[in-house]
Amino acid sequence: MSGVQPAPPDPMVPQVARVRRRRQDAPDVFTLELEPEGAAAAAFAPGQFNMLTAFGVGESAISMSGDPARKGGVIHTIRAVGSVSRALTELRRGDRLGLRGPFGVGWPMADLDGKDVIVMAGGIGLAPLRPVIYRLLAERDRFAEVAILYGTRSPADMLFRSELEGWRQRLDVTLEVTVDHASEGWHGHVGVVTTLLPRIRVDPEKVVALLCGPEIMMRFAVQALTSMGVPAESIYVSMERNMKCAIGLCGHCQFSPVFVCKDGPVFRYDRVRYLLALKEL
């Protein structure tokens, strides 16, 4: 049987998508559920990202924050920090935007079987880790201990509060939340996210730690984990650089020999350790 095969979609050409839902998670953080026009949402792996275009403003790399197993729209949690991300967060239900992806290498889900897993998030870093958490909880029997550690600036900046409360009620998961700066009425933990590590029970020899947050926070977290005896090759970090093409061509996100968009954004720590302290990168 012969026939003309349809050309594969051009990774540089965005699909048009519409905003199906918009929810405010924190003063400057919004979650959008997007519905691609004329096509089903593409499958993705936890940790991957899409390039989202605010028409007339620009394009930005945003990690998926929804459950990879859930049918329906594509979910992104976006913090308004620059012109593009601000324009994206200002979109309303029914508004259109451009979407291409998914791109990149995500979290090493297959390597977590039988392991203790630490999910350590700082600030908006909880969003790229939320797909991992969904899968850890849905397939809980595959893993040994599961600990979720989340640090944020203040109680008002906390993301996904109702979900955090739900996860905390589970008996098979340890969830610890901390804020750097407490406000009146906050009765939870105060201190940086690394101060939560002594509160969890994991075996350093069989633990895998997944870190996402500001790079300084991740460096401190790595120090704390290694001082507990966790090997560098058991620590994964999600890097953030200026992604443009998202397919390893343009070099905007080149991180010495690696392209963050194509070889990451998730990297095993021992493979990027020497790059993290370089001011020039």
Binding site: D28, A182, H187, V190, G191, G213, I216
Partner: protein
Amino acid sequence: MAVTGLERIVREHPFFAGLDEAFVELVVGCAKNVRFEPGAYLCREGSPADQLYLIREGRVVLEIAAPGRGAIVFQTVGAGEIVGISWLFPPYRWNYDVRAVERVRAISMDATCLRDKCEADHTLGYDVMKRLVPILMQRLQATRLQILDVYGKPAA
């Protein structure tokens, strides 16, 4: 019998984990069990730092009062951790308030007693110092992170 129980508790607390048996006997002589109800203060800023607390159960907050802002909590400390560094260095005064936010059970070490024993036996003193300095370093690092405000918006 009570002393034996206290010895076991002191030995099992992470701060003194692995301490030489002879030293355990020495430091237990400075120790007693204490309990605080929620809201009770373990110490007040400016008061004599005459205790080292080994927290066994519950949580305390470290806080500083600021005019017009009330008490500002800057750290939570829980089971397995310690409260109190100021007892080791002159002028031996607490630099903050420590308040129980849950029912707290702790070992209270008499600081003068412990200091005297560390002074009399520098091997013990050096061992205690090696246990305190990493905690100081961790708290210094944590303070740096808080000051850096890493979750704040990057400068435009």
